[in-house]
């Protein structure tokens, strides 16, 4: 499988080539390694996460929030998330804050509004980092098993495994279909202002390429579903025994309790600290 080529002559294609995207995606999806958090039980982690996703909304004390942020930032660091994830996070945060600031300024808010926004940003940051720390280090299959045990339909966990299986193949196929358009098509003769003609051409074929992709995928899905029938998947979905066997490996161990206990003590300490020194 070919992944990407380094750009020599940098055209818009090279900068935005599907091959580039592909390599980024594959790196994130398949590059997982063991991290500190990945050692714990995924269900415990989901519970842990839901605390840090919800509690900050009710906490107005910046000391506590900063304390939480520090701890979560360390955990996020240990889970080695990809640069891509950070870019998306930073982007979301910047746009959200900017939007809020515009609203605030629109009705003549000054320093208090900015201050209020900084608390809000802090909260959003805690929540976002908590999700990155937990979910980016968690093996998606483990996560899907945890969700399965929490009542998600079995189709979801099948989807995760299938996604892993098909992702590179679908991207490769999409890429080749784009090549087919390029090898038989023709770029606009004039590039237009800021190359807008090229941009439109590019956008057009990236959408058009979904047409053959849909047809090809339809064909392959037929065999897949037939194979799923033979492999008993359609029956297993309805069988609680299968779910139990599949999830038997999920066990909450003493270290999970220890982790929860330490987190609880740390949070309690933060509240005490926040009580002493309110920012």
């Amino acid at each position: 499988m070919e992944l990407a080529e380094p750009a020599r002559k940098s055209s818009i294609w090279e900068k935005l080539s599907v091959e580039r995207i592909k390599i980024e995606l594959l790196r994130t999806a398949y590059g997982q390694s063991r991290t500190f958090l990945s050692r714990f039980d995924p269900r415990m982690l989901i519970g842990w996460y839901s605390f840090f996703a919800i509690a900050p909304w009710f906490i107005h004390n910046k000391t506590v929030l900063i304390g939480m942020l520090l701890a979560i930032a360390v955990l996020t660091y240990t889970s080695k998330p990809s640069v891509l994830v950070f870019i998306v996070l930073a982007f979301g945060l910047v746009t959200d804050t900017a939007y809020m600031l515009i609203v605030a300024l629109a009705f003549g808010g000054g320093l208090p509004a900015a201050l209020a926004l900084s608390t809000l940003t802090l909260k959003l940051l805690v929540i976002a980092l908590a999700s990155i720390a937990v979910f980016s280090s968690m093996d998606p299959e483990k996560l899907s098993d945890a969700l399965l045990s929490l009542g998600m339909p079995a189709q979801f966990s099948f989807g995760v495994a299938y996604g892993y299986r098909m992702l590179p193949i679908l991207i490769e196929e999409y890429n080749n279909l784009l090549y087919s358009y390029r090898l038989r098509g023709r770029t606009p003769l004039r590039k237009g202002l800021l190359g807008w003609r090229s941009l439109v051409y590019m956008g057009k074929i990236s959408i058009l390429a979904f047409y053959p992709l849909i047809l090809n995928t339809a064909k392959r899905t037929r065999t897949t579903v037939e194979a799923l029938e033979v492999k008993g998947f359609t029956y297993a979905v309805k069988d609680p025994k299968v779910k139990r066997i599949k999830l038997a490996y999920l066990k909450i161990l003493p270290r999970d309790y220890a982790f929860l206990a330490i987190s609880a003590i740390y949070v309690a300490f933060l509240f005490w600290l926040g009580n002493q020194y309110t920012l």
């Binding site: 990407a4 099948f158 038989r184 392959r220």
Partner: protein, 588 residues
């Protein structure tokens, strides 16, 4: 080759089975009665559309449970009628490996795939069962591999392991050779043989490559059009029925064809022909001792073209490759120097990962060299886009379905010219469609065509681009032999219009029949650049590139005929000449 003793009750038994797909106009199976016994290794052969796959889908209940067509007659598996059991239940007796094995793999890793079925059936020891299956096939080392990173052969192996995990009595494999190169296909068959001999599994293969049938199977079922069983015979008997097989578009092994042509008269009525190289070598062992110069039909085609003028394509010290997941550069081509001239018909051969596809992509401009320079008709590919180069180069992908981007075949063929807003193209398009026998099919979608029709379509697409150079990636992969022959004939159509053709292939028959220049690649380097006759004189190089010479070439090697005959016809001519001369010497 004797039939092994079997137990009394057949493991699979069909009683007068007739089946019609919903909405179909004709029956796909017509009054089929068939018994398969425990421990059999049986091949089901027949022309396209003779109902081979339909027959096998009856064994595991996909018919009539999943395909709810009209069915008459009964199918018994292990003495129980399939109509009384579900597909899932039957899967414990009969495993099925689809021809399209790629899409039957639904899990991310090999181990996961192997455990999937036992888990779904609620076996507590599903992990152990999965591992057992991997152990039986001796592929434990692949357990943690991502399936998408496997080679075709390894994927097929994973599919087989998944089928084995339920420990079935019968394993049905639909055309194992179709999607694989010959060397990998042989590995699969070796494993099937192992399963049959060591673990006592009953193996049913759908197969029309008779050389594999000869080497591995013991019994053979011949299906004919309309879904009838013509006969069930032992393989030796079955393959000796040369004229009957030819009638069904099935080619007997090359040695059998040769024997049929040479010794028909001498052979006693009903006697068995040699079907493997060993048997053939035994038969002709004495006849061909003498050294004779073989025919010179091909002699110097390659060397003559090479001097002529400026090359069409020139590689100068080209290094290229891709970036791995770890962001490290992985060079695939390491310093390629190559010139392609007018009149070249190049077969590019080598194992998977040798760099064949990368080389083709460099010419098409889809990929650019890291170092060195690729020039196509005087244009530096680094300074041109693939769109610009497509005026000169047509690149046909390995998977035809990735080339069907328009609404129907005709529009696909027209696409290139329409994009260039050329007027009055209809007569030309009509002509191309006619030449590639697509006029009847032009309104259909390529994906619903047979493999051979799909290839013809891609060739037509390429031709309609009026290229100077045509590049083809594995054009004969997954074709039956009749379509292969047809395709090789169509290649001759290219000769007048296209100045040079480069074909990346594993198909040694194509190399022998068509190419006038052969380039062997290995680990990103050119190992050998020669003509098709010479290449077969280097068994060491063929070995390194994981290639298998055509059977007749191997036979020549065994008999000490040098240079080897490249086709059955040449061999027959050679043997006839040898006999004549023997006669002459005998008299003198």
């Amino acid at each position: 080759m004797a039939l092994q003793s079997t137990e009394e009750q057949p493991i699979i038994q069909l009683d007068n089975v007739t089946f019609r797909y919903p909405g179909a106009e004709a029956n796909s199976l017509e009054g089929v009665s068939l018994s398969i016994y425990r421990g059999d290794f049986i091949a089901i052969a027949g022309s396209n559309g003779s109902g081979k796959s339909t027959l096998c889908k009856c064994f595991n209940g996909l018919i009539p449970t999943y395909y709810s067509g009209d069915m008459e007659g009964t199918v018994f598996v292990d003495g129980i009628a399939t109509a009384e059991r579900s597909v899932a239940e039957l899967s414990r007796n009969v495993a099925y490996v689809f021809q399209d094995f790629e899409n039957q793999l639904v899990r991310p890793t090999v181990y996961d795939e192997a455990c999937f079925a036992p888990l779904n059936f609620g076996y507590e020891d599903y992990k152990e069962r999965g591992m057992n299956a991997l152990r039986m096939l001796e592929i434990e080392h692949l357990r943690n591999e991502w399936i998408w990173q496997l080679s075709g052969g390894q994927k097929h192996m994973a599919a087989l392991a998944a089928a084995l995990a339920l420990d079935p009595d019968v394993i049905v494999v639909d055309e194992p050779v179709a999607q694989l190169d010959p060397a990998h296909a042989r590995v699969i068959y070796e494993k099937l043989k192992l399963l049959n001999e060591r673990y006592g599994k009953t193996i049913v293969v759908i197969e029309h490559h008779t050389e594999f049938i000869a080497d591995y199977c013991r019994k053979m079922v011949l299906m004919e059009r309309g879904g009838r069983v013509r006969w069930v015979k032992s393989v030796a008997e079955g393959l000796s029925a040369v004229s009957e097989l030819n009638e069904m578009n099935i080619q007997p092994p090359q040695v059998t064809q040769a024997f049929h042509a040479l010794c028909r008269e001498q052979a006693i009525e009903g006697a068995l022909y040699p079907i493997t190289i060993e048997e053939a070598a035994l038969h002709w062992g004495s006849a061909a001792k003498r050294e004779l110069p073989s025919t010179d039909a091909y002699a110097s085609a390659a060397s003559s073209s090479r001097s002529a003028g400026e090359p069409l394509v020139r590689f100068e010290g080209v290094i290229s490759g891709y970036q791995g997941i770890d962001r490290k550069k992985k060079p695939i081509l390491q310093g390629i120097d190559l010139s392609i001239h007018e009149g070249d018909r190049i077969a590019l051969i080598g194992n998977n990962g040798a760099g064949k596809s990368t080389l083709l992509r460099l010419i098409s401009g889809l990929r650019r060299p890291w170092e060195g320079k690729v020039t196509v008709c005087g244009r530096d590919t680094r300074k041109s886009t693939p769109e610009e180069l497509s005026d000169l180069v047509a690149f046909l992908f390995q998977n035809p379905e990735e080339m069907f981007i328009a609404d129907n075949i005709r529009q696909d063929v027209e696409y290139f010219l329409r994009a260039r807003q050329q007027q009055g193209i209809e007569p030309f398009i009509e002509d191309v469609l006619r030449r590639f026998k697509l006029t009847e099919l032009q309104q259909r979608d390529g994906r619903l065509l047979s493999g051979g029709q799909q290839r013809r379509t891609t060739l037509a697409i390429g031709m309609a681009m009026r290229p100077t150079i045509m590049l083809l990636d594995e054009p004969t992969a997954s074709l039956d032999i009749a379509s292969r022959k047809e395709l090789t004939l169509l290649f001759d159509q290219l000769r007048d219009e296209v100045k040079a053709v480069v074909v990346a292939t594993h198909d040694m028959q194509l190399v022998a029949d068509w190419a006038n220049r052969v380039i062997v690649m290995n680990e990103g380097r050119i190992l050998l650049d020669t003509d098709s006759r010479t290449v077969f004189q280097h068994p060491d190089i063929l070995d390194r590139a994981a290639l298998v010479a055509p059977q007749i070439v191997q036979l020549c090697g065994r008999l000490g005929i040098e240079p080897a005959c490249l086709s059955v016809e040449q061999f027959i001519a050679y043997m006839e000449r040898a006999q004549r001369e023997e006669l002459v010497y005998g008299i003198g």
